[in-house]
Subunit: 341 residues, 2 copies
DNA sequence: CTGAAAGCGCTAACAC
DNA sequence: GTGTTAGCGCTTTCAG
C-alpha cells in the first residue's frame, strides 16, 4: 500500500494512526488517505498486534453458551462495550460439565491467540473454581464468583431483586405474601430467600413466619408448590416466585382453583424471560436479570485492567441491580380487603 | 523459547508442528518437548498467522445476537464445528436495523483482523442483501438467503417441518386440522402454509379447504386466532400453530372453552422454544428449528471453502430438517370419533 | 517533514 | 540432523 501511494510505510503508519509526534505535510496526508480509500486498504491488525504486543482481542469463555436464553444478552453487552473501545470478542465455549484440565485447555487456546484479557462467564450465578492458567492475563468473572476472590467479578444483586419483588407486592397492598423457592443449593436460592424475608420484616410484616414452599425450578415445580401454598390455611394474596418458569406453573395452579390473576392472586416472577413473561396472560411482572449490564460492565472493567496494566483484583464481587419489570400480574388484593373490611 | 532449549527456532518449529519433511533426532525432539512443557510454552498463533497468511479464525457476524434464544444454539454449533477443525470464532454483532454501510464496517473490521472466512447469520429465516465486502473472503449465510444466490447458505426446511407437524396429527387420527399462521411476509410464513396444505392433500384431506387463520405471532395472536377457529363452524380437532408462542395462546383459548389438551384438542407448535414447550401443560409437541445443525454445517462448509481455496458458490440454499419433538399435546381425537361413529 | 533500519515470533527454503 | 537467512505487515527509534 505504502509503496503504491508513492510514500514510505512509515509515513502511512503515521498518517493512518494519527501519530501525535509525527510531522507530515497536509499534502502527503491527503495523498495517503486517498490512496488508502481507493485501494480499500485496511491495516493488518495481526501485524499490528505482533509488533505492539496488543491484540485488541478479548477472550470470552462461557460455560454452555447455549443453555440459557440469557447468554445472548450477556454476549451482546460484552460485545458492545468491547467494540466501543476498539476491542473484539473471541469466543470459546466450554462445557460446564468438563473437568478443570479441559477448561484450562480452552483458556490456553485463547492465550495462544494472544488475547489481551479473558471474560470468564457462567450462565447462571454460581461459585466456581477457575482454571489455573486464567491468571496469566487480566480476567474478569461474569455471573460467577470464586471462593477465594482473586478476580474481579460481577453478579446480579439477587437480594435486591427479591426485595424489589416483595416491595411491589407490598406497595400494591398485599400483607400476606408467599414465596415459591427453588430447591437447588445455589447463591440465588439463598439470597432471594434472604431478600424476601428481610424485606417483609422491614415492611413490618412477619418475614420469618411468611409461607415459603420449595420445589424444582420449572413449571411443574411451580404448579405443585403453588398448589400447596394456596391450599394451605390462610393462603397468601401475593406470590413471589423464584423464577418465571415456576410462576408459569403458579398461573396454572391459580386457574385450576378459579383464582383470577391479578384480581384474586398477584404474582411476581424472577429472570424476565421474555418468552414466558410477555406471553403469559396477564403479562408477568418480574425481576430482570442484568445480563446485558453484566457483560458490558465486565468488558469495560477488563479493558481498564488491560490498559492500566494492573491486575487489581476487586476485593468484593460487584452487584448489579435487578430491576422490576411491571406487566400485569400485580394488583391490589381487592376481594380479600373488601371481605375483611 | 528455542534459545532456552539450547536449539534453534527452526528445530522447535519442526518438532512442535510435526513437520513431515523434518529430520530431527529423537533426543532433540525430547529436549524440545520437555523444555516447552517446563516453560509452559505455547506457540504465538498471531505470528504463525502473519507468516502463513492463515489466521485460523472465523468471523461470525450475526444480526442481533441477543434477540432470540436460538442464537446460542447456532453459535454453539458453529463453535464446536470450528474448534473440531482447529478454528476459533470471532464475534461481531450487527444491528439488524443498521444500514448496509454500517454492516459493511462490521465486516471490514473482521477483515482487518484477517479472518479466514465469515459466517453471516440472521436470527430468523430471511432474505437479505449482504454487505458488498462480504465477498472478499469465503462466506456462508446462516438462516438466511440472498435474492441472487452468490453465497452458500443454510436454512431450515420449513416446508418439511410443517409436513411433519401435519403428519403427526394425521397419524394420531385427526382428519380436521387447522392452521394458526403468522401474518408477516417472511419465508417461514409461506413455506409452512404450503407444507400444511400440500401434506393434507397428500393425506387425502382437503388442503385448500382446511381452516387457516392468521394473527400476530405471539401468545395474544394465537389466543385470538384459536378463538376464531374454535368458535367457527365445524372446528378442527387438531391445530398446527406457526410457533410455540401462538400455541401458548391456543392453550389458553382451549382452556377457556373447556377443551382439554390433548383429549379434546391436539396442538402442534413450531420452533421448539424449550422455555415454552417444556413448561406448558401438557408439554407441547412441536417442530424444532435446527439452529445447532445450521451453525455446525455452516462452519464446516466455510472451512471446506477456506481449505480448498475455492469460492464455490452453492447454487441452492441447503435445507436442514426440522424434526418433530413429541411431548404431550397430541392424542387421538377420541371424543369426536366416538360421537360420530 | 520523511525514510531507512530493526525487530515482534514464526516458518519455508536452503545451506552445511 | 540442524542452523541460517529472509520476510509475513507493521511500528518505533533514529537519520537525514
Amino acid at each position: 500500500m505504502a509503496r503504491a501511494a508513492g510514500v514510505s510505510a512509515t509515513t502511512v503508519s503515521h498518517v493512518l494512526n494519527d501519530v501525535s509526534y509525527a510531522r507530515v505535510s497536509p499534502e502527503t496526508r491527503e495523498k495517503v488517505k486517498t490512496a488508502a480509500a481507493e485501494l480499500g486498504y485496511g491495516p493488518n491488525r495481526l501485524a499490528q498486534a505482533l509488533r505492539s504486543r496488543r491484540s485488541g482481542v478479548l477472550g470470552l469463555v462461557s460455560e454452555d453458551v447455549a443453555t440459557t436464553p440469557h447468554a445472548g444478552r450477556m454476549i451482546l453487552g460484552a460485545d458492545q462495550a468491547a467494540r466501543a473501545r476498539g476491542y473484539t470478542l473471541m469466543l470459546s465455549n466450554t462445557a460446564g460439565s468438563a473437568g478443570t484440565d479441559l477448561r484450562e485447555a480452552d483458556v490456553e487456546s485463547l492465550l495462544e491467540r494472544q488475547v489481551d484479557g479473558i471474560l470468564y462467564a457462567t450462565m447462571y450465578h454460581r461459585c466456581l473454581q477457575p482454571p489455573a492458567n486464567l491468571g496469566k492475563v487480566p480476567a474478569v468473572l461474569v455471573d460467577a464468583v470464586t471462593a477465594d476472590g482473586g478476580f474481579p467479578a460481577v453478579v446480579p444483586n439477587e437480594y435486591g431483586g427479591a426485595a424489589a419483588a416483595v416491595e411491589a407486592l407490598h406497595a400494591a397492598g398485599h400483607t400476606r405474601i408467599g414465596f415459591l423457592n427453588n430447591t437447588e443449593d445455589v447463591p440465588s436460592t439463598h439470597q432471594r430467600l434472604k431478600g424476601f424475608r428481610e424485606t417483609l420484616d422491614r415492611a413490618g410484616l412477619d418475614g420469618a413466619g411468611a409461607p415459603v414452599v420449595t420445589a424444582s425450578s420449572d413449571a411443574d415445580g411451580g404448579y405443585a408448590a403453588a398448589g400447596r401454598i394456596l391450599d394451605g390455611g390462610n393462603p397468601p394474596s401475593g406470590l413471589f416466585c423464584y423464577n418465571d418458569r415456576m410462576a408459569m406453573g403458579a398461573y396454572r395452579a391459580a386457574a385450576e382453583r378459579g383464582l383470577a390473576i391479578p384480581a384474586d392472586l398477584s404474582i411476581v416472577g424472577f429472570d424476565d424471560q421474555e418468552l414466558i413473561a410477555a406471553n403469559l396472560h396477564p403479562g408477568l411482572t418480574t425481576v430482570a436479570l442484568p445480563h446485558y449490564a453484566m457483560g458490558a460492565w465486565a468488558a469495560d472493567r477488563l479493558i481498564d485492567m488491560i490498559e492500566a496494566g494492573t491486575a487489581g483484583a476487586e476485593p468484593e464481587p460487584v452487584l448489579l441491580a435487578c430491576p422490576l419489570v411491571s406487566r400485569g400480574s400485580v394488583a391490589a388484593p381487592a376481594d380479600r380487603v373488601r371481605a375483611q373490611g
